[in-house]
């Protein structure tokens, strides 16, 4: 039986009051709930405040480049099916620098859970607009207001029908933990876009702001109805639905990708196959 304590208790470099603290707790809770031991889990991250999460719990960790968590996670997943793989990073990392990999993951549908801490701002680099910052919001690098509209990653993910699309909120930690667990258990790509207040740099999308808008999706929402899911995915303003927006049935990437499906570390060289292969050049 894996317990929350098995993941340790680390000092973090996050600001007091930051939503990341709750996300970390929820992740531990979900892993323990799934009975996933630290060594069975791999957290792959990019760079940013969110991306520091894997530093703060016992787990295998690949802390890669800003924006590049998904390709590294995909490579690891392809190579080693023994690992439960998570990609963990911020909105800037996943939807800005790493946007192309996000698109590619939507096409591939690898068996990876993406925890996207969406504080709608670049935290670690001190408050520039992120791809999910509201249009018109003022920052130091956008003193006249962000000219672009925010990306809607949830809508795009639903449009591409990946295995699971979830919206969650760090201020609803139990729900979040349940969502993370469900995502981890879903074969195929699961996006958990987690609204997360940045108390230091985002003075618009505060805890209160989210709290006032977020509501739980009820049984009346059918996450397998694509048109309905698109409608819910499009809802981000006065009201923001939390929960499973979409559930699809696409096969996970690994089941279709070339290779034998055995962990690559266990492959041993087959000299006779090699000799035969050389014959094809004769």
């Amino acid at each position: 039986m894996v317990r929350v304590e098995d993941f340790g208790n680390f000092e973090t470099a996050w600001c007091p009051g930051c939503g990341n603290h709750s996300i970390l707790k929820a992740v531990k809770q979900a892993l323990a709930g799934l009975d996933l031991a630290p060594h069975q889990t791999l957290l792959v991250s990019g760079i940013g405040q969110a991306a520091k999460l894997p530093q703060y719990l016992h787990c295998n960790m690949f802390n890669g480049l800003h924006g590049r968590a998904l390709p590294a996670a995909t490579g690891a997943r392809l190579a080693n099916p023994r690992l439960k793989v998570f990609a963990v990073s911020g909105d800037g990392c996943n939807y800005g620098e790493g946007g192309n990999h996000f698109l590619a993951a939507l096409r591939r549908n690898p068996d990876i859970t993406l925890l996207a801490h969406d504080n709608q701002v670049y935290g670690l680099t001190k408050g520039q607009a992120s791809p999910t910052t509201a249009q018109g919001q003022k920052t130091k690098t956008q003193p006249g207001g962000q000219p672009s509209v925010p990306l809607n990653p949830v809508a795009i993910a639903v449009a591409m029908r990946i295995s699971l699309v979830v919206r969650a909120f760090s201020g609803e930690p139990d729900h979040l933990a349940a969502m993370v667990a469900q995502a981890a258990e879903t074969p195929g790509f699961a996006l958990v876009d987690i609204l997360q207040p940045c108390v230091t740099f985002n003075k618009v999308n505060t805890f209160q702001w989210y709290k006032e808008r977020c509501y739980m999706l009820g049984d009346d929402h059918d996450p397998t109805n694509w048109a309905a899911a698109m409608r819910k995915a499009d809802e981000f303003g006065d009201r923001i639905p939390l929960g499973v927006i979409w559930r699809g049935d696409r096969a996970p990437f690994e089941s279709l990708a070339p290779g034998r499906g055995t962990p690559l570390a266990e492959h041993r060289l087959d000299r006779s196959a090699l000799e035969k292969l050389m014959d094809s050049f004769a």
Binding site: A37, P38, H39, Q40, L42, V44, I47, K52, P54, Q55, H58, C59, N60, M61, F62, N63, G64, L65, R68, L70, P71, A72, A73, T74, G75, A76, R77, L78, A79, N80, R82, L83, N100, H101, L103, A104, A257, P258, G259, R260, T262, P263, L264, A265, E266, H267, R268, L269, D270, R271, A273, L274, E275, L277, M278, S280, F281, A282
Partner: protein
């Protein structure tokens, strides 16, 4: 270089099948025991334009292309117009009946008579060509049978019929071409034919490479094609990435998790990988990067050749970390160095690059079968460690190498980090730790230095003229040195198949023992000569540089040397 060597040049538009004829002919020659060396010239388009496929062949070793040709196979008029003037004495043109030979000696093959359908024309051309060289019809027949076997006996038979008809048609002509001198006995049995990129792929598979992520880019794509086409049965996992950044990050994720991984690319794609090269450096994750050069800057000349990405490969990646750069000079070296690259990266846990170029990539050669049994076993990473609780991915060690564990097999956790980290792998920004980890990584350079493959000297140790070259420059230099020696010069070639690290002790005596050292490189600025000076202080006396998109040839080198050998 064999005086008995001849060159067959096949020319035509993209899409006319000249590569098919060329490959079949080169394979037939290989099976007959001849040495074969192919040079391909094509454009960045799928149809039209003007392409050539040149086979240089003979009973003794052939190193590279020459400027003239003995047989010109002209699939269109443009081929005659462009190339027939370079026919060597006694040479001939082989063309269809619609092509005007323009007074040049040769034959006009009645393709429509010999073959009922256009798809047989390639085999007809093969038959005529085989016949001109007095090739063994049996070998051609077996080749055609093998080639079309997959398509069923009917197709095989139809092709065989065309082949024989064409072969005999030429024999009936009132025309004779000097037959190829017979190949040495025994050469025939144990030979294969493959090009540089295929040899790299085969070397990788022989090293146990089981993961490839790549983004297509000429002239590197055929490494990926070969790995995928041939490696599938060996369990190779491959994925065409969304871009080159993803390709290398994916390979690193895979390598971390237990794969033996590589990526394939060319200059522009490699430029995009630069950040991830640095990630490989700090995370100490093994990976092999196959970089097949083409002329830049930017898109440049996508289908031509150059050796101008040496500097970039040497310094790609911000920050400082060790690396090795291997630069095969021949198709055989492609095989061996690809294998060695995996061995090195696995043992030193730092990126290893293999630099080739379009010329070598597309160069089909006949080579002896590779001896897999003689290759060293590559030590795999660990799946288990004893000290579960205390395992540290970045444990300090005198040689800088730490035990590399694959996650998921035992309870020890494997943490790798792009930030500066402590021995465990956690972010740590303090100066003492920084110095320790930075020096640990850099310490691996000593091991890499100790294992450097020495440059190879061809010719006398003390020479009047030493040609310095690296990578695919070898063939042209070897042939030039033969010509120089014939003309009475005491000339040598010093060829580097590893350009980084460099070890003075391995070659300074040759440089200092030479009256004149001339660098021969496929770039405009003498990048390797610059590196040599940086590392040793030695300045070459001259340079023969080529950067027009075409490979170095003996003729080009000799022209460049004119002022030195006057």
């Amino acid at each position: 270089m064999s005086p008995n060597a001849i060159t067959i040049l096949i020319g035509g538009e993209a899409g006319q099948g000249l590569a098919t004829i060329g490959q079949l002919m080169a394979k037939a020659l290989t099976r007959a025991g001849y040495e074969v060396c192919v040079t391909q010239d094509y454009q960045s388009r799928i149809r039209g334009g003007h392409n050539t496929f040149a086979i240089r062949t003979g009973p003794e070793p052939v190193y590279g292309p020459e400027e003239g040709m003995d047989i010109l196979v002209a699939l269109n008029q443009e081929t005659v117009d462009r190339h027939a003037a370079h026919l060597k004495p006694g040479g001939m043109v082989v063309a269809g009946q619609k092509v005007d030979l323009d007074g040049h000696p040769g034959v006009q093959v009645p393709f429509t008579e010999l073959a009922s359908k256009a798809i047989y024309h390639n085999v007809a051309a093969l038959g005529v060509l085989g016949s001109t060289l007095c090739g063994d019809l049996g070998i051609l027949e077996r080749l055609v049978s093998d080639t079309f076997a997959k398509k069923g006996q009917e197709v095989v038979d139809a092709n065989l019929e065309v082949l024989r008809k064409a072969y005999h048609w030429f024999q009936a002509q009132d025309y004779s071409f000097h037959c190829l001198s017979p190949a040495s006995e025994g050469n025939a049995a144990d030979r294969i034919m493959l090009h540089g990129n295929e040899a790299l792929a085969l070397g990788a598979l022989a090293a146990g490479c089981n993961f490839l992520s790549f983004y297509p880019m000429t002239p590197s794509t055929s490494i990926a094609l070969t790995l995928i086409g041939k490696g599938g049965e060996l369990g190779l996992v491959s994925e065409q990435a969304e871009d080159e950044i993803a390709a290398l990050n994916m390979a690193l994720g895979a390598s971390y998790a237990g794969a033996r991984a590589c990526v394939t690319t060319s200059g522009g794609g490699f430029s995009l990988m630069v950040e991830a090269v640095s990630l490989a450096g700090i995370t100490e994750t093994p990976v092999v990067i196959f970089l097949v050069q083409r002329p830049g800057p930017a898109t440049g000349l996508p289908t031509r050749t150059e050796q101008a990405d040496l500097n970039l490969a040497l310094y790609a990646g911000h920050g400082e970390f060790p690396r090795a750069l291997l630069t095969p000079g021949t198709v055989e070296e492609c095989f061996h160095l690809a294998h060695w690259a995996f061995d090195l990266t696995e043992r030193y846990q730092t990126p290893v690059m293999v630099l080739s170029d379009q010329y070598l990539a597309d160069q089909y050669c006949s080579v002896p079968r590779f001896d897999f049994a003689s290759l060293p076993e590559i030590t795999p990473p660990l799946l288990q460690v004893d000290e579960l609780g205390t395992y540290q991915r970045y444990a300090l060690s005198p040689d800088g190498v730490s035990p590399r564990l694959i996650p998921g097999y035992c309870e020890a956790l494997v943490k790798v980090d792009s930030d500066e980290h402590d021995e465990m792998g956690h972010i740590e920004e303090g100066p003492a730790n920084r110095t320790a980890q930075n020096e640990k990584r850099l310490a691996k350079a000593s091991g890499l230095r100790a294992e450097v493959i020495p440059p190879e000297l061809f010719g006398p140790e003390e020479s009047d003229l030493l040609l310095l070259c690296w990578g695919s420059g070898l063939g042209a230099c070897l042939e030039a040195v033969e010509l120089l020696q014939e003309r009475g010069h005491k000339a040598s070639v010093l060829h580097f198949k590893q350009v980084w690290p460099l070890r003075e002790d391995q070659f300074m005596p040759f440089l200092e023992g030479a009256k004149t050292v001339v660098a021969v490189e496929g770039n405009a600025t003498g990048q390797f000569a610059g590196l040599l000076r940086k590392e040793t202080g030695f300045a070459v006396q001259g340079a023969v540089l080529r950067a027009d998109g075409y490979p170095l040839t003996a003729t080009y080198v000799m022209q460049g040397l004119e002022s030195w050998i006057a």
